[in-house]
Subunit: 363 residues, 2 copies
């Protein structure tokens, strides 16, 4: 069994690749999970994932005190209200500060359950079992948890590292194509910001990746987790280098905010945001046009959107970017590409270049 | 200026005794505050405290970007809804992750603002300026923040250490007598669990304490802060010894929960809880009756309630105790006295002794 360690001292934890653990009836790699849950376990999942994998998980936890809570499916339910609901269930069902939570599902489940675990009685352990590509390569690793506020995405949250991440790649065979493609956007981001060889490998393996060849998926997900784990270990609470993982996200979050949560998938917004960030980088003279062209080709090869949704007004878009979590009183920050495989945090965004970029992409 | 340090490594911070800083017009000890707020400051206070001290504080922050939000006064507003409201104001008024929050008020303001600061964009710094006795000696120190859930007190929260605690003892002259007495309950608790000399000092100074002699108050508050700071520094996240500070609280929280939040003040419930814990300790043979008698005399000397509110059913009371945050899957924990000035965490509560105690105190 392949394992990647997120090296965070006393908060270090493994990302364990356990094909079949929840997607198949026979137990596989079960000891990894059992040695990290205590005697009482509460599973948070959603209405789409529950019919697929909840029984597969609960059947392997027999003998423990188990409870679960099923969220409605969708980014629009990433709210404080849902967190309060989970915590109500924990109290009513008699779970306590020595219980363990498991998040079983995609990014929204991981974020909402992770935040609930972070604040229930000031924090209980959480195990992330991501079942979408996006959550396997991105949101389940690194301890960021959050819910949305009506005025901004991920505005309420906490750093709460999981005690274990379990990745069962076979769960991805049931994922709908749009969700699957959305996950590929974060993978392209990892390659673009950290590793040009990985970017070439993705270009060379488009077919196998689209066919969801399990061996190819396992290799790709492990590579992306490795990149993310190294960055997180260097900068857990995003004082510096971890900010690079926001490549494409300042534009992407504005797209999500203005389109209304749930209309554009996060990964889709990131795909467009990556191209907008690349476009800014070309206009500012940091990278050659060819980098942007290759990024465009890879994203569209994966079936991701490469143009912004219609009717996003420039002024509201800029306001949403300025409200982004990365903003400080000194102003907006932007992650730009310096080369394929190399990104940088730009503190002094050039307003003229930004205006040109937005004018070209919006309306 | 007297300062006590809460020794928490990279999260260490001072408790600064700054008489007059917010209660008087002329600036006193202002540098302590100014060197720890950045260029943008957001003050959270409540409708009772704002008319007394908000202008006094804001006038000393001139030249900074300042905003504020006023909560309604009362424990019943210690809710997630109020936290969401604060965060809405932060976003609307353009505060960002490099802003500092100030909690100006009593324990509820400190807990709600502290929790909002803990989760806004995954955490911004907070300065606590407590204006009640209870918050000066207890809730402002130690980084515990929380709000209530309809099913249980302090069920949602975070550990979020302040960057500074400012204590202006002159604010206490305007505190109403009931609130003032409630604060004395936590002070009696500190003495009872940690320091019999301090307990004797309190017995000897009842008159001066009731008269609110400022020098006497300063000495008393510093002593209580010192006891709390030492315990917190040893055990920040309450894995062990910090649990001693819950002396009287398992009984007290049940009283608060069953009376409806806001009916009995927290300190009043703690006073009764201290006596119930002492009663359990006498019945279990840990302490002599005289310890309980002295505790009773001191609490009633301070004008605190020494009998439980009427009509609290034993079964519901036990259920509320079992749901307390200190409970684990193994069952309820209780803090008991081993002597005056010495407490202990009891893992195996004797059900018969507990039943006797409850039978004597309830209905």
């Amino acid at each position: 069994m392949k394992t990647i360690t997120v090296a965070l001292g006393e908060r270090a934890y493994p990302i364990a690749f356990c094909e079949g653990l929840i997607s198949r009836a026979e137990p596989a790699h079960l000891e990894v999970l059992l040695e990290r849950v205590g005697q009482s376990v509460f599973v948070v999942t959603n209405s789409t994932v529950a019919p697929l994998f909840l029984d597969g998980l609960l059947s392997k936890l027999s003998g423990k005190k188990c409870g679960y809570h099923c969220l409605p499916d969708g980014e629009q339910f990433k709210t404080l209200e849902q967190v309060e609901g989970i915590i109500g269930q924990l109290i009513e069902q008699g779970f306590t500060r020595d219980s363990t939570m498991i998040a079983l599902g995609g990014g929204v489940v991981g974020d909402v359950a992770g935040f609930a675990a972070a604040i229930f009685q000031r924090g209980i352990p959480i195990i992330q079992i991501p079942t979408t590509l996006l959550s396997q390569v991105d949101s389940s690793v690194g301890g960021k948890t959050a819910v949305n506020h009506p005025l901004g995405k991920n505005m309420l949250g906490a750093f709460h590292q999981p005690s274990l991440v379990v990745i069962d790649v076979a769960t991805l065979t049931s994922l709908n194509p749009r969700e699957y493609a959305a996950g590929l956007a974060e993978i392209v981001k990892h390659a673009a910001l950290a590793d040009s060889d990985y970017f070439e490998w993705l270009e060379a393996n488009i077919e196998l990746i689209i066919e969801r060849d399990l061996d190819c998926l396992a290799e790709m997900i492990a590579k992306s987790c490795q990149i993310k784990a190294e960055i997180v270990a260097e900068d857990e609470t995003e004082q510096g280098r971890r900010g690079l993982l926001n490549l494409g996200h300042t534009f992407g979050h504005a797209i999500e905010t203005l389109s209304g949560y749930g209309q554009v998938l996060h990964g889709e917004a990131v795909a467009i945001g990556l191209l907008m960030a690349a476009d800014y980088s070309v206009r500012a003279g940091y990278i050659a046009q060819t980098v942007k062209t290759r990024l465009h080709a890879l994203l569209s090869g994966f079936g991701l959107p490469v143009v912004a949704p219609p009717s996003l007004p420039v002024d509201l878009f800029k306001a949403a970017m300025a409200r982004d979590k990365k903003a400080t009183q000194a102003g907006m920050k932007l992650i730009v590409l310096q080369a394929l495989g190399k990104a940088e945090i730009l503190e002094d965004v050039d307003p003229a270049v930004l205006d040109e970029t937005l004018a070209d992409w919006l309306l």
